[in-house]
């Protein structure tokens, strides 16, 4: 399933006026991601958050990054979808140029969606940026 673009996600989320709808949207967004089979959830792919586990696989094809992620928590999975909408199928330069903090602000994450604390979101962003930097 194709993830919507970042602008579309920003628009969609702005449309909802209660938290339940926002959360439902985020959860549904997470369902766009195929997840990873148990065998692919290896310790070296684990990005440890305090409250839930996140696994990340990165591949490069024709100079673009392809990411596969999975989380054992569905809201975290949805938050990961927000991140992948920004980073997937992008070049290293495009990843580094993207204003992720501005994007999070536009999504109004702090106020309307559980903020980025403790859920591994920051850790994933740092990891992806690190990969882009090393590329």
């Amino acid at each position: 399933m194709q993830l919507p673009g970042t602008d579309e996600i920003i628009d969609d989320l702005a449309f909802f006026d209660d938290w339940e709808q926002r959360y439902q949207y985020i959860i549904d967004l997470g369902k766009h991601l195929p997840g990873l089979p148990e065998t692919e959830r290896t310790p070296e792919r684990l990005v440890k958050g305090c409250q839930s586990n996140v696994w990340l696989i990165a591949n490069q094809q024709d100079g673009r990054f392809q990411f596969e992620v999975d989380s054992d928590a569905v809201i975290v999975q949805g938050l990961l979808a927000l991140v992948l909408a920004a980073y997937n199928d992008k070049s290293a330069q495009a990843i580094l140029d993207f204003d992720i903090d501005g994007y999070f602000t536009e999504l109004d994450l702090e106020n309307h969606i559980t903020p980025t604390r403790g859920n591994g979101l920051r850790a994933i962003v740092a990891k992806i940026k690190g990969m882009a930097q090393a590329a």
Partner: protein, 405 residues
């Protein structure tokens, strides 16, 4: 007489705030408790009226600060029934208190010696001993629990031997709420000649801690889980043991005579309290202890048991809800899992409804592994919680179930 919870709540300003559009329902008391106005006042009053360094000033402010600071020590000593006031050592919290003992012990341990802990430990009462054993070549034994979270005392006693130098166990498990029979186990450990440390992080706020009655050598706890400020805690230690205990930090306050190349150590409690202490924190903790001591402790315990029973009954009626930790003797904590819902997701959705709980490994990774679960959602209760708040918790959980199904 029963506890007047409404009147009690009036004393906690934070309990009147809202989170989003909802009144705060604070059920994360095992992580930290809220503070009554008297504790907040004690902090503000210290800084506005008599801020000065203690034990050294040649002026009135320092005298007043010292008096308040040492009065707090008296309050704590009385609260836990210590035989001597100088047995109360201020620390930054439970973790530092245990570190003082574990670091000292590491210097005394030899290969072949043993340290005994339990599977219930949170990291503060595990990593400390584990590292002391690694440094000294001693062996760390871990007493098992049953699946209910109850300590297997027979197995515990089998692991006790005359090689056991130290037994360290929690008074109450932070993750499961299990209350351990610390007095009986301490007696058995003392028969073998072992030192005993009780990790009182969770035990202290439920009242009736009497270190003389328990018979242990050390009791460690944090102020912030006892309605006091963060950054202050207590190591209580038996005078005869603490007098010779290897010093922890060195520097000012803890010395007697100093030359450029040598120093001798001062007397208790100062020898284990290097540097300028957390004066305001100690005074705040003293105020918290004085406040808590005004409550009727059997009323407090009856109220907390009532809350836990009330919550447990509702939990048992929820389809797909599984309680983690069902030991017969349990207090303050309801850890649980909801079928098909990750604890983190539950926490997020409860938060949006104003309900504050803890989710995750509860700072007890090996225990979670032992129980075969990645973590739990944990609601923990304190004196000021109400059955109405428990109802809100379950209403919020119901919504989480619907959304996460």
């Amino acid at each position: 007489m029963s506890l007047d919870v409404a009147a009690l709540r009036e004393q906690f300003p934070i309990l009147h705030r809202r989170v989003g559009n909802n009144p705060l329902v604070y059920l994360d008391n095992a992580a930290t408790t809220q503070k009554p106005q008297v504790v907040i006042d004690a902090l503000v009053d210290f800084y506005t009226q008599c801020n000065a360094n203690v034990h050294r000033g040649a002026h009135q402010l320092s005298d007043e600060a010292t008096r308040r600071y040492e009065h707090a020590r008296d309050s704590v000593a009385r609260f836990i029934n210590a035989a001597y006031r100088e047995e109360v050592i201020w620390t930054s919290g439970t973790t530092e208190a245990i570190n003082i003992v574990a670091n000292g012990l590491a210097q005394l341990l030899r290969e072949g010696d043993e340290v005994l802990v339990t599977e219930l430990e949170h990291h503060a009462n595990l990593v400390t001993w584990q590292q002391a054993c690694r440094r000294s070549g001693a062996t760390l034994n871990v007493a098992p629990i049953f699946d209910s979270g109850e300590l297997d005392t027979d197995a515990f006693l089998q692991l006790l031997s005359d090689k056991t130098r130290m037994v360290a166990m929690p008074h109450v498990s932070n993750a499961l709420g299990t209350v351990n029979p610390v007095k009986a186990l301490t007696a058995r450990a003392k028969e073998k000649g072992a030192l005993v440390l009780i990790d009182g992080a969770q035990g202290i706020a439920h009242g009736n801690v009497d270190v003389s009655d328990i018979g242990c050598d050390f009791y460690a706890f944090s102020g912030h889980k006892l309605f006091g400020p963060t950054g202050i805690g207590v190591l209580w230690g038996r005078k005869t043991v603490l007098e010779d205990w290897p010093v922890w930090q060195t520097g000012g306050e803890m010395i007697q005579d100093v030359s450029y190349h040598e120093a001798t150590w001062g007397a208790l409690p100062n020898r284990l309290e290097a540097g300028t202490p957390n004066i305001a924190g100690a005074i705040g903790l003293g105020a918290a202890v004085d406040w808590f001591s005004t409550l009727n402790i059997s009323d407090v315990q009856a109220h907390e048991q009532h809350l836990l029973r009330y919550a447990t009954e509702q939990a048992n009626a929820v389809d797909g809800m599984r309680l983690i930790g069902t030991a017969p003797d349990k207090i303050g904590v309801m850890s649980f899992l909801l079928e098909g819902a990750h604890p983190a997701d539950i926490g997020f959705i409860l938060d949006k409804q104003g309900v504050a709980i803890r989710t995750g490994d509860n700072c007890a990774q090996p225990l979670m592994k032992r129980l075969g679960i990645p973590g739990t959602a944990r609601a923990s209760f304190s004196v000021y919680n109400t059955t109405e708040e428990v109802d809100v918790l379950f209403k919020a959980l119901n919504k989480a179930k619907m959304m996460l199904a």
